[in-house]
Symmetry: C2
C-alpha cells in the first residue's frame, strides 16, 4: 500500500484521535464508529489505512500508547544513577498515573483485542524494555557502590514492574494511588538495604 503525505497524515490522525479518545472517561466500549466520528473520517478510510480492520488499528494505537508509557518516564528512566534520580523517576511514574486516574488506554485496548497474539506481543515488548531499563539502573547503582552487590538486579526490576502493573490496576478499579506508591517505595527501600 502506497501512502502519500496526505495519506500518512490521515493515518496518523486516526491513531492519535483514537488514542486521545481512549484517554476519555467512558471509552470502555470503543467502536470503530466512535473512532470514525472522533477523527472525522469515514468507514472507507479506516479500512483503507488498516486493511485488517479493528485488530490492526487497535494494535497500532496500542503501540503508540506503549511508546508513550516509556517516553513519559524520560529522561528519568534512562538515568537511574543516583538515589535522587530514582526518586525523580518514582515521582514521575506516580504523577503520570495519578493524572491518568481510573482510565487506562492500554487497558481498554487489551480488553478489545481479546488476548490476540499481537496484543500480547505489544505488552510483552513494552514490559521487556521497561524492565531492561530498570535492570540497567540497578546494575549501575551497584557499580557505583550505592547498592550492595548481593542484590539480584533482574529480580528487583521484575518486582518493580509487577508492583507498577498491580498498582495501576488497583488504581483503575479503586481510584486509589496508594498501592502504587507503596509498591514503588518498598522495593526502592529494599534496594537501599
Amino acid at each position: 500500500m502506497k501512502l502519500t503525505v496526505k495519506g500518512q497524515a490521515t493515518r496518523q490522525r486516526i491513531i492519535e484521535g483514537a488514542a486521545s479518545y481512549l484517554r476519555s472517561d467512558d471509552a470502555a466500549g470503543v467502536t470503530l464508529d466512535d473512532i470514525r466520528a472522533i477523527t472525522g473520517t469515514s468507514k472507507g478510510q479506516i479500512f483503507h489505512y488498516f486493511p485488517d480492520g479493528k485488530e490492526e488499528l487497535f494494535l497500532a494505537v496500542a503501540r503508540f500508547e506503549a511508546d508513550r508509557v516509556l517516553s513519559d518516564q524520560q529522561p528519568h528512566l534512562s538515568a537511574l544513577t543516583s538515589w535522587a534520580a530514582w526518586e525523580r523517576w518514582r515521582d514521575s511514574v506516580i504523577a503520570r498515573y495519578r493524572a491518568q486516574g481510573r482510565t487506562c488506554p492500554l487497558g481498554v485496548l487489551m480488553g478489545q483485542l481479546n488476548s490476540t497474539p499481537g496484543a500480547h506481543e505489544v505488552i510483552g515488548t513494552l514490559l521487556e524494555q521497561w524492565q531492561s531499563e530498570l535492570r540497567r539502573g540497578v546494575a549501575e547503582m551497584q557499580q557505583a557502590g550505592l547498592v550492595r552487590s548481593g542484590v539480584d538486579a533482574g529480580r528487583v526490576s521484575a518486582a518493580l514492574i509487577a508492583g507498577i502493573q498491580g498498582g495501576v490496576q488497583v488504581l483503575r478499579s479503586t481510584g486509589d494511588v496508594t498501592h502504587l506508591e507503596a509498591a514503588l517505595d518498598i522495593v526502592i527501600d529494599y534496594l537501599r538495604g
Copy 2:
C-alpha cells in the same frame, strides 16, 4: 423471586458452569449462549434466574470467583504468625497462579463487565479483604517481635497486593511467573529487614 430447591440448584449450576468455562483457554469472548450450552440450560432459565441478564449473571460469577481467590489461600492467609507460615502462604499463592497459567476468570469477567460500578465493587471488596488479612498478618508478626515495629503494615500489605496483581497480570500476558515470585519475595524480604 421465589426459588425452590431445584431452582437454587439450577442457578448454582449456571454460576459454577460459567466459572468453570472461564477457566478454560479460549474464554476471552464468552457469550450468554456459551454459558447456556455449557450448563445445559435455556435462554429462558438464564433470564429467569438473572433477570438483569448478562451483567447480573457475570457479577454473580465474579463474586463466586472472588471467594475462591481467598479460600484458595486458606488456611495460610489467616495464620501468618511465623516466617514459615509466610513462606507457606507465598508458595500457595504462586502455586495457584502457576496452575491458573495465562487464563484468568476474574480478568475475563472484568473485560466483559466493562467497568460497571458493580464490577469495581466486587474487585474492590476482594482486594480490601485480602489486604486486610495481610495487614493483620504483618501486625501479628510485629506483636510477636518478629518484624521491627517501624514497618508500616498498611503499606507493606498494599505493596503485596500490588505485587500480586501485577505479577498475575504479567503472567497473563507473558506466561511467565517470575515477576510474581520476585514481587512476593522482595516484599517479604523487606519485611524480614
